[in-house]
Every structure is written in structure tokens, then in C-alpha cells.
Symmetry: D2
Subunit: 110 residues, 4 copies
């Protein structure tokens, strides 16, 4: 994925032009991400086959609201994803969790 | 946001090492995005105040699964978000929708 | 399912006793239903197998918030579900949609 | 809420007639509940005001899929909600949590 500073700027500019900024509180954006994630899930409601064009569009919506939320609360998505990856690596040592989808805490108690 | 090719590569490598690739079908990733979006929403369940550290972590989870899904089905998130922005601009002309959150189709029929 | 007037009353009483009513706006309950639906989905995140006890508990959470929302905005769940069933029957005539999961509007355009 | 055995029977019969039963695995119904919960949330996307008719319809959809899931996996919604209420009462003693929305575990560690 290339540099998308320009994408964030374009989205920001469009929202400003539309006077839509006022709707974009962190809470409303969290709702919006959930709503769009539901629409993405709808592409897979009854089976695992999917329409690529629909999936692309719903993924774009989730991503756009995520970029807007990151912009509003001032975080860098790539930075926080890297941080989280480091946490995940520490939590799930390869030798113990290879091939297992069960969550850490469940594995411990089972 | 800077270039995150390296982030995608790191995530991909970790999943391969863990043998978690087999779980990452488009359908399962769509479910995962929805689940994590729900956890992000939980940060705002009873009011608009939020714990920044929790919000960062949940946003990271949504973004990570979104990156994985983009990688699995072969789309570029920035590209599809830009495409969608162009569509949105065409659908909501500034002079008609400035300051209005109502959706296009609803505005038409009201 | 038996009569659950007593269940709604018990939930209502508990919330009053806890002074939790103030959190239960329709908006917050809609968020809560979405959050709990995400937790229910998590029981099926990586495959179709599930832990019955976990599924029961998450279904109970979705249902409880749904009952609370119905109570707050003054609707009867069974009544609105019956209304919706009649609409669905009208929208999807048996002879045209038997065995087809595709939605009405999609079938039309395909 | 009155007795809705007849509602469940009607839904079951309609699905059988449509040959839609085959789509109604617990996993697909969990996805469906999440999708419809997202549509319910959409009624509150940008603010707390809502269109009652839309909210009723989305609540009906969540409830219908919940009834179908309960029917498929063989649980009684009112029974599991009562069970969960008892658990919640035990977890949140009135004297300690009155007027507090913070979750049990968070209160403990803060």
C-alpha cells in the first residue's frame, strides 16, 4: 500500500466543504464503522461466495470511516497496527499457538 | 500516513509462521472486522467519552483485519477508498447536501 | 416461548434499582444490541462449531437489550415481528423465491 | 409480551415453505443478527433522534433472526434471559454499582 497522506487530505477537505465535520465525532464514527462492517458482512450472509465489486465497496466504506476516526482523534493507523502486532506476538508465542485459533485465555483454562 | 507495505508484509509473515492463514478466508475476515468494530463501539457504549488507549487498540484490530482481508482478496485499500470518494462526491453535490447528514435516497423521497 | 411479561418487569425493576435507566436511551440500547451481536458472532469467528453455553449467554444479552429497547420505545416485539413476517411474505412469493437466498431487489436485476 | 409460540411456528412454517431452512445454520443466523443490528444502529448513526417506523422494522429483523436461532439450536429466549439476569444481579450488587455503568472487572482494577 502506498502513501495515502493525500487520500486523508482529500477526505478531510471534502467533509469540510460539505460541512459534515460536525457529524464526525469519535462516537459517531465508531457507530459508522460498525454499520459499514455489518454491510461488509452482508456480502457473506448465507455463504462464503461473494461479489468482488460489492466487497470492495463495503471495505472502502469501513476504511474511509476508520481513516476519518484516526484523523479526528489523532492516531496513525499503521503505527497502532504495528504496536498491536508486537503485543499479539508477545501474547501468542509461535511454539505454543501454531495452527491454533483458540484465544490465549481460553487455551489457558481448557 | 506513511507507506505500510512493510506492515502488511510483517502481518503476512506472522500469520504464516503461526499457520493462521488457513483461518483467514474472506468470510472469516469479514466476521472478524464486524466483531472488532463491535469492540470499538463498546468504548462508546454509554456515552461519548472514551479511553484513548482502548480506542487505539480496537481501531488497530479493525485495521489489521481490514489489511489482511485486502491482502487475501487482492485489493489496495487506498485505491478503493479513493474510488469510493469519487462516487460519493458525484452522489452528493456540495450545493445540495452541504450540512445535511440525510442520505441521498432519503432526501429525494422526503 | 411462554409469556414473558414477568421477565420484562424483572429487568425493568433491576435497572431502576441500579439507577441504570438513565443509560438506556434508544441510541445506547441500539449500540448495545450491536455490541452483543458482535460477541455472539465471535462464537463463530473461525468456523461453524460453537460452544453452546457461550452462545446461550450471548443470545441472552442480545435479547435482554432488545427487550429493554422495546420497553423504552413502547413496542411489542412479537407484534412487530408478525408485521414484518407479513411484509416478507408479500415481498417474496413462494413460487418465485423458493430455495433462493438472493434478496428481492438483486433477483430483479440479475 | 404475550405468548408467541404461534409466531415461532409461523416463521418456521414460512421458512420451510420457502426452502430457506438450509440457509439457517447457527453461524449464518449469528451473522444475520449482527447485520440487522447494524441496520438498527444506522437509525441512530449521526444523532439520537430516530424514525419510529424504521426502528420498529429493524428491531423486528433482529428479533426474528434471534427467534430463528433459538428455534434452530433449541433454547428458550425467556429462559436464558432470566438465567442471565440472575448472573448479572450476582455480579453487580446494588450497593456497589448503583448508578455506575462501568463494568465489573474495570471497576475492580481501577
Amino acid at each position: 500500500m502506498g502513501n495515502d497522506n493525500s487520500l486523508v487530505k482529500e477526505i478531510r477537505e471534502f467533509n469540510k466543504q460539505m460541512d459534515w465535520d460536525k457529524f464526525h465525532t469519535p462516537e459517531n464514527l465508531a457507530k459508522s464503522i460498525s454499520i459499514e462492517a455489518g454491510e461488509l458482512l452482508e456480502c457473506f450472509q448465507w455463504n462464503s461466495e461473494y461479489n468482488p465489486a460489492e466487497v470492495r465497496e463495503e471495505m472502502a466504506d469501513v476504511y474511509t470511516y476508520l481513516l476519518m476516526m484516526a484523523d479526528v482523534i489523532g492516531v496513525d493507523l499503521n503505527e497502532i497496527a504495528l504496536e498491536k502486532l508486537e503485543k499479539t506476538k508477545a501474547k501468542y508465542p509461535v511454539d505454543k499457538f501454531r495452527g491454533i485459533s483458540t484465544k490465549y485465555n481460553k487455551l489457558e483454562t481448557e
